[in-house]
């Protein structure tokens, strides 16, 4: 479904991605883990075309993403829930959700999708009229995921969805991600919570300083000595 081959990217003179290869097949949950600054978010930004790759191939269902503007990528069904939530602060919960289904083909499903995300996150229904900027961190994270789901994603890119959430909510979020996946949404998940995210992943990649250094099944990586030492403190 998504195929990245030999992706290279620099911020100005600073090269941050080196020949990154990554694949996501339909129906999978694929996790990318790695230390701070490894280049995980930058990889997602390349996929969503917020930035332009220096070189390499970036295709989704056979379409060359590297030639498309960001809004076309969303229209194809590749939807990103960015790091740091990025809620529209001066819009209500409902308006934020509405922006999630801005893309033409998704507007007709608006009501159905609103019901769906309210079902997933009942808290959002209670807070429909609240301004996004005044919500708590956890609530904003729910809203960010819900907003992403409003766009009928085929492939959902999640950048650290569990960051800053209470342990109970973290478990909740991972359950919800699994649930969304079962409903047919393919997921590419970037996480610092290595244990939880590998546990739900079909396959996973480990990134270090801009390179993919390890790949394998989720459970396989959980048992990997290097992963245990570097990320799980074992």
């Amino acid at each position: 479904m998504l195929r990245i081959e030999k992706l290279n990217f620099s911020y100005g003179d600073l090269k941050v991605l080196w020949d990154v290869d990554l694949e996501v097949k339909e129906g999978e949950i694929v996790t990318v883990v790695g230390a701070n600054g490894a280049g995980k978010s930058t990889t997602l930004k390349n996929i969503s075309r917020l930035v332009k790759p220096d070189s390499g191939a970036l295709t989704f269902d056979g379409q060359d993403l590297s030639r498309l503007p960001s809004h076309r990528v969303v229209e194809l069904g590749v939807v990103q829930v960015p790091e740091g939530r990025r809620i529209f602060p001066e819009m209500t919960v409902m308006e934020n959700l509405r922006m999630g289904s801005y893309v033409k083909g998704t507007r007709k499903d608006r009501e159905r999708n609103v019901e769906w995300v309210f079902d997933l996150f009942p808290r959002l229904q209670e807070r429909q009229k609240q301004l996004g900027g005044t919500m708590s961190g956890g609530e904003q994270q729910m809203l960010a995921i819900a907003r992403g789901l409003m766009a009928n994603p085929k492939l959902l890119l999640l950048d650290e969805p569990s960051l800053g959430l209470s342990p109970l909510l973290v478990k909740n979020i991972f359950d919800i991600i699994t649930g969304i996946n079962r409903q047919g949404v393919t997921i590419l998940l970037v996480e610092q919570n290595v244990y939880q995210s590998l546990r739900i992943a079909h396959r996973a990649y480990v990134m270090e300083t801009g390179r993919v250094v390890l790949t394998g099944g989720g459970q396989e990586l959980l048992d990997n000595e290097h992963v245990k030492k570097a990320f799980l403190g074992m």
Binding site: S48, L50, P69, S70, H71, V74, E75, V79, Q80, P82, R86, I87, F88, P89, E90, M91, E95, R98, M99, G100, Y102, V103, R107, R147, A151
Partner: protein, 289 residues
Amino acid sequence: MAVFLQSLISGILIGGVYALIGIGLTLIFGVMRVINFAHGDILMVGMYLTYILFTFAGIDPFVSVLISFPLMFIFGGFLQKVFINRVLNAVAQNQILLTIGLGLIMSNTVMLIFTSDYKIITTSYSSSTFQLGGGVSVSWPLLISFLITSAITAVLYWFLLKTDTGQAIRATAQDREAAQLMGINVKRMSIIAFGLGSALAGTAGALISPTYYIFPQVGSTFTLKAFVITVLGGMGSVVGATLGGVLIGITESMSAAYISSGWKDVVVFSLFLLVLLLKPSGLMGKSRT
């Protein structure tokens, strides 16, 4: 009391037009983070457009808004697409120089075509008034322009709050990158925002043309005024610009009545400085965090 009411009413009426000018500037700033130093010159182009339509086609200045609004929208959208979109990621100095340059080109082109002579549009109602009673009179052209302004402002609020495109413009202003992730074509939103800003400035130009002198350099006064209004209201805030415009209108007309018209700019700027001292982000501005 009559003087007070008289200047309050005149102030509100002229303030409506100021609000239109300010909303245009604040919309452009909100979406692009570019301060449009050509704003007054765009208004001036709107005045000349009205002058042309009036002189050569006999179209009433207020009716001509129906033509100048869409034309100025296209003009602004063109400026954005061809010039401003290219400097969105450039340093602020370059953006400022570009908009100042565009303004100069507009005023000089108009000067070449029309010379720097003052033009006036004389309509049958240019200086007609009606009595409100108690010694208070209201100028017809001011009242009509205020009604048109109110209608345009109301439609604009509805557009920004209720339509998908309007919400997408606000989303782009609040977080450009997040807007891109929603599938919003932010370049297109920028074109619409600059088009709207120019249409509002051009319409303001059309509305004041029955009561103002028209000359190529008239824009600079209005650029400054637009800037004061938007900073006063809070950069990027449409509600702030609306309030700021009316407030400046009232202040000008009050100080002209109670002090002297020569002093009105001094009073306006004193008020401006006072508000900024008390609330540096402007009346409706969000303090930066």
